[in-house]
Symmetry: C2
Subunit: 379 residues, 2 copies
DNA sequence: AGTCCAACTGTAATCGTTTTCACTATCTCC
DNA sequence: GGAGATAGTGAAAACGATTACAGTTGGACT
């Protein structure tokens, strides 16, 4: 393959050309061309899907007429019937690649998130996909794993797919570069967003949400409230800011750490932290992975929740209700976030010149036992 | 729009043709054609992405030469350099629709699951996507919501996309119909599978896994072991069979119910069941939603786990470790399932005629506190 | 010097659609 | 009964790539 040179030349789907000895990803590349055995029942036994030309032939009309029938164009009833019959008889299905090429509309939107296994993104992606399919569009989903290089790779893929728009939860690193990039489609940021605001965005009111948690814990009698925040996204930052401000305003001393978004990291941090003097009474954590970490740490330290260690966090996943006395969390309007992102995208497509907008949605504080009123005193 | 007639004529991406007054899904349909404003920096300021023709023009060569450069064909170093420069200068990105049309390889695989929010499918889909992208393929994901009509709809979509293969977790209803269908791509079933075995499949050894749970509970001293199984998939059936057999063999009386796959259904069933005399000592449930339902029911009935009610289920999700004394579950090799499905698919593409294969993977029983040894006696 | 071959390169056909344009009926209206 | 609209139809040109085929070199060999 010689000179890979610049990645400007890389493409995604390598199809084995005649000169390449078809090694490479040969396993997949070009199996055999004539497709798979079909079982009778249908006229389309030849192995290849019928094209519009076949339909035209079968109906005795021109391809133009078939096309018009398919898109409800002006066609006489007689011919329309004949074409419809021919469509059925041949088992015709339009070829979307051809249609997209010709029409210059991919009817596809991109969705790039860090990891679909993060339940927040799972829920958002489901909402996005539903909205997309409802509008007759398809979704291409990519997992960046919080890795800027993969993000860039996938942005190129999106260009090659000629997507009509992108919904994107970028890393901080990508966020900085994003404004400089020259993409051929509009971008709607979700979950994270740039201060510059060149792009549309829909985000949670993170500072307010974090403040809600502080407020709640404070009201319940907690004073030494520590914070754990993710270090890859702006979300972590914003939640930290809200936490910091809310603490300060109440005369409390903020004590925050920034961690990689893994349960293990949180667990280790908590275990270590609770070993120090002036150990926190409560933790506020910026995502559900950290929530797990705290619960695990509590178990390891044999601390009960909330007496030994209170905790509140983000994302109202089904299980948060079930662990211990229930975990107090900020519920994000995931459905709404996904739908709004699609809505913003569609509006942007309609009016490309409109100034960018930032949709800030409020979270709800779901109070559970993990932040029950602090008992008399422990230390 | 007139006669919708048969759905043979429906297509997915409706692009507003000149005669339609572009009402319809107009919001999305065809915004304005000349695309979005680009900010200098790049030569590609015209708004349209450069095509191979533009590159050829810029480099002063034929399109064939450009194409060859892009696919590492035989080109002199001098021309290659010129073309590469031109690619960079024009900001060229290949058009995948065109490439797919011409090459007749969509390099796309379909993935149809019931709901991506089911963590089992989340994990599997992630594994599938990773494997696919690694092989230079894309994935189209669809959520059927256990609805056969949507499944059928999506199968048609897959045909229109000319996917090279499908990974599919069908409902029981679809499973019956599947063999009769005449699809133009190979199908690999996951999680659920037909007894007929016309298609490749990769599934858990469900009977064995369920038996493992019975065996374990029995060894722990439980005797009245009830079962809750999903009623939409073959998975539920198979797990029931395993349960039934393992109970019988031990001289225990099976008592099973089939429910719609929702936590609420399970909760209600358990609450009601525990109100009867001869109430179960333990529950075996066939998915993680039911697991939640049982835990909720226990809480509502103020029964502790496992003394008041023992429980074991399927899917080792992170949270199962955290609730109560930890939940005993069968861990499915989700990663492996996804990867194996892709592997089977690739092998099938290589050898379309090979007889179909069924890959049965074993689950691991992760023992936790929810099935601790039964205390002296309660009743 | 003439032949042959290897190594490049360009021309043009093709993939399956949509859409413009020209054309033919058919109908309406004086 | 002819002019002029109207509706329906087909031929052919795109869309952006890949690739078979036919040249065109230049060098090696006889």
């Amino acid at each position: 393959m010689g000179n890979a040179s610049s990645n400007y030349l890389e493409t995604f789907s390598d199809i084995a050309p005649p000169w390449s000895s078809s090694a490479l990803k040969a396993k997949v590349a070009s199996p055999n061309r004539d497709t798979f055995h079909t079982i009778g029942l249908d006229m389309s036994v030849s192995g290849k899907i019928a094209s519009i030309k076949d339909v035209a032939l079968a109906a005795g009309v021109s391809v133009a007429t078939v096309s018009r029938v398919l898109s409800n164009g002006p066609v006489s009833d007689a011919l329309r019937k004949r074409v419809e019959d021919a469509v059925r008889a041949t088992g015709y299905r339009p070829n979307l690649s051809a249609r997209r090429l010709r029409s210059q509309h991919s009817q596809t939107i991109g969705l790039v998130v860090s990891d679909i296994r993060n339940p927040f993104f799972t829920a958002v992606s489901r909402a996005v996909e539903d909205a997309a399919y409802r509008a007759g569009m398809r979704v291409i989903l990519c997992n960046s794993d919080e890795n800027p290089e993969r993000e860039e790779l996938y942005l190129r893929l999106m260009q090659e797919e000629r997507i009509t728009g992108l919904i994107f939860a970028p890393t901080r690193a990508m966020l900085d570069r994003l404004d400089g990039l020259d993409l051929d489609f509009p971008v709607v940021l979700i979950d994270r967003n740039a201060p510059t605001g060149r792009h549309d965005a829909v985000v949670l009111d993170n500072p307010r949400a974090a403040a809600l948690l502080v407020e709640h814990l404070h009201a319940q009698g907690y004073r030494r409230i520590a914070g754990l925040f993710g270090n890859t996204s702006t979300t972590g930052q914003e939640r930290h800011e809200g936490y910091q401000a809310a603490m300060t305003v109440r005369g409390l001393t903020p004590a925050a750490r920034f961690l990689a978004p893994h349960a293990d990291a949180a667990e280790a941090a908590v275990v270590e932290w609770m070993g120090q003097r002036d150990r926190p009474e409560a933790f506020i954590v910026s995502n559900s992975l950290f929530l797990m970490g705290v619960v695990k740490a509590a178990r390891r330290l044999k601390l009960t929740i909330p007496d030994g260690i209170a905790v509140a966090g983000f994302d109202n996943e089904p299980w948060t209700e079930l662990v211990g006395p229930g975990l107090t969390v900020i519920e994000q309007p995931v459905q709404d976030i996904g739908q709004s992102a699609m809505a913003l995208l569609f509006e942007r497509l309609e009016a490309p010149d409109r100034p960018s907008r930032r949709l800030v949605l409020g979270g709800t504080c779901v109070v559970r036992g993990s932040t029950a009123a602090r008992m008399a005193d422990a230390d």
